[in-house]
Amino acid sequence: MGVVSRRSVLRGSLGLVAAGTLARPHIANAAAKTATVWWTQGFVPEEDAAFRKVVADYQKASGNRIDYSIIPFAPLRQKLISALTSGVVPDVSDIPAIQINAQEAWSGKFLDVSDVVETQKSKYLPTALLGCQFYNGVAKKRSFYGVPYKGAVIPFHYWGDLVEKAGYKLSDVPKTWDAFLDFFRPMQTKLRAQGMRHVYSYGWEISTVGDDPTNTFHAWLIAYGGQGLVTKDGKLHANDPQVREAAIKALTRLATDFKEGYVPPGAVNWNDADDNNAFHAKQVVIDFDGTISTEVALYHNKKEYDAIVTHGLPLSNDGKALPSQFFTGTATIPSGAKNVAVAKEFLAYLIQPKVNNEFLKGGLGRWLPAMPELTKTDPWWLDPSDPHRVAYVRQGLYSPTIPYFYAYNPAYAQVMTEHTWNVAWSDIVTGGMTPQQATDKALKRLEAIFAQYPIQQA
């Protein structure tokens, strides 16, 4: 064996570097058929299994490879934001927080995927399409920066057994907004009198964490006539008296429920899952929470599952149908993705009606299809033996819907992440402001935020 000299070490090192450099094209070629995918973990294992099946089927059909990671929504949000900031991105990322798509599309961080959407465009719910056409502040245009593959609306969920235990009949639930909410209010006292010391009537999300608190405010705002806060042209209508009045009513109602002790005090710190937890613990009689995750989490506990009532939005106080805000769930291709062709092919596969239907069904129907025809061709969606899914599908796909305000103007995504409306609620409850003062402060903040997002409408 020869002596190891300085020269031989250096020569060997150079040889390794050269070999590595020359070997790289082969690795790159191999990677050309592989797409990296980041996906949001489901609330139930069935959702993840459904995604794995889609991947396996796609790999079999295409010969391509999907290198996927299934990540809980909060860490995925952080991972995605870090990736978009650093530029080291996956080929496909699911959107783990509802406003991120609009926010990052504004900064030009996602690729235009109109060609993928085009493959199934005619089949989508028009609101679903509106909900994923975002304004790109760099390219100065509005387009599809996410491929819609699921949808959601927000139903009420209440414990039928608690309603009856409190001495009420389910058939007596009122049809209009305020009467509907008032119906549940006295149940707290009646249930506490029966030994349920920690029970509260309402499980409203009123914190400044996650998406649910803003969703709650929006539903109340719309119920009181504030739907025109942001219009399709992207304009904010902070000075519209009807909008202001609706915001005041919404904040007053939510603040009063809390101040009078009908909402658990800890709700001021709840995250998106905590209202579900409180509901499952029967700490609250009624909750307002997106999707039917509340029910699906108890899917294998038949008794509890059947004890819940899923209820779409009541009518407005003057008896008109209220539109639900429809969330369009998207998967995106970040700018800088290496394998765009495979990424697009995979997403086009995912939204094929048959594939998409099986995928959403596999997830126990927690997410709605963004294509209503799936619920017409497959009786599973409206099977009366599952009242939760039927109520949910009817609310989301067969009743009036509107997109989230951020689809009209990305400024509203910032409003949601700043929790401007929930801070206003807190200003009333702990800051001593009147609802009028808190509303005016919030609207002023909205104006300041919207001024940072000049958009040109076609």
């Binding site: 300085r6 934001i81 400044t208 005090p265 800890g266 995250n271 929790h419």
Partner: protein, 313 residues
């Protein structure tokens, strides 16, 4: 003969480029030190990885951070955000109360743990547990203990005294107070151990001499311990303040910055709220950078104290 023939050439070079050549040779010698031949190459080979690691993992992140927070408009956004201003107040309170109460109690407790007896040593072992166990599980436990409805604390109050305890995490001042108390509880043991080490370095003769003069108990503390530990106490307080400016864990797990974002400190506001909730990492970095006017003078002061030539504990 050969030498005399070469000499004129050398002289020519010397006269034309002597200062530059000397400077280069001087620099070369300084770089090589006493290393001969291949030793220099080997030295470089061993040094380069460390320099590369330092550049990649120390210099690059710092420069990248400064670059991310370099836009002036970010600071305009920060100062127009009412939550930011509230956060600055919280951070100052957190530092002023948290650090000072913790250090002072640690100083007092270090005296207690210097008492002879096996039971004080056993107690010390239990006392350091909060510091020894990982922060995350204990802060999560405290968070649950403080839950207004189901938490251990309020249930105990109800069980033993039939008193409905306050919602510890649901109002700003209770929640911030909970953050500060948890922070003190977690970190006080560490500094107590440091002060015990400081006290152990004080020669017993000083105490004996003081005892002859009648200085025991509080008088010994005032006239011996405190003056001799003053420098250590000051340096530790500076260090602790610098560590605490960037403390994220306590507030994140105890109050989460809530309710209504009223208990954020700069670290949680920057990282949690701005960078990831609002998806504005640059704004998050800018928020954290606004602590620099406080941190830099503290670091300078610390360096100066560490240069003190006098023998001080």
């Amino acid at each position: 003969m050969d030498g005399t023939q070469v000499l004129p050439t050398t002289q020519t070079v010397s006269t034309q480029a002597l200062p530059g050549l000397r400077a280069r040779r001087g620099l070369w010698r300084a770089l090589r030190g006493e290393l001969q031949g291949s030793e220099y190459t080997w030295a470089l080979a061993f040094l380069v990885p460390y320099i590369a690691v330092f550049l990649v993992f120390v210099i690059y992140p710092v420069v990248y951070g400064f670059w991310m927070g370099s836009e002036p408009s970010l600071y305009a956004n920060l100062f127009s955000d009412p939550i930011y201003l509230k956060t600055v107040v919280n951070t100052l309170l957190y530092l002023a109360i948290g650090v000072n109460v913790k250090m002072f109690l640690a100083l007092l407790l270090s005296g207690f743990f210097m008492r002879p007896g096996w039971w004080t040593k056993a107690l010390l072992m239990i006392f350091v547990l909060p510091w020894a166990v990982p922060a995350m599980p204990i802060f999560i436990s405290i968070h649950w203990m403080l839950n207004g409805d189901y938490g251990f604390l309020n249930n105990a109050l109800w069980t033993f005294f039939h008193v409905n305890g306050p919602s510890w995490l649901d109002t700003r001042w209770f929640a911030l107070g909970s953050d500060i108390v948890s922070y003190i509880w977690k970190w006080m043991p560490f500094w107590t151990v440091i002060f015990i080490a400081g006290r152990m370095a004080i020669p017993q003769e000083i105490y004996d001499a003081a005892k002859v003069d009648g200085a025991t108990g509080i008088r010994a503390f005032v006239h011996i311990n405190f003056p001799l530990l003053a420098n250590l106490y000051f340096v530790c307080t500076l260090l602790s303040t610098i560590f605490t400016v960037g403390d994220f864990t306590t507030v994140y797990f105890i109050s989460g910055g809530g309710p209504a974002m009223s208990t954020h400190v700069l670290a949680t506001l920057g990282v949690l709220q701005y960078a990831f909730d609002m998806a504005q990492p640059r704004l998050g970095v800018a928020a954290v950078m606004t602590a620099l006017p406080l941190v830099i003078p503290l670091v300078i002061l610390l360096m100066r104290k560490l240069k003190t030539a006098q023998v001080q504990l």
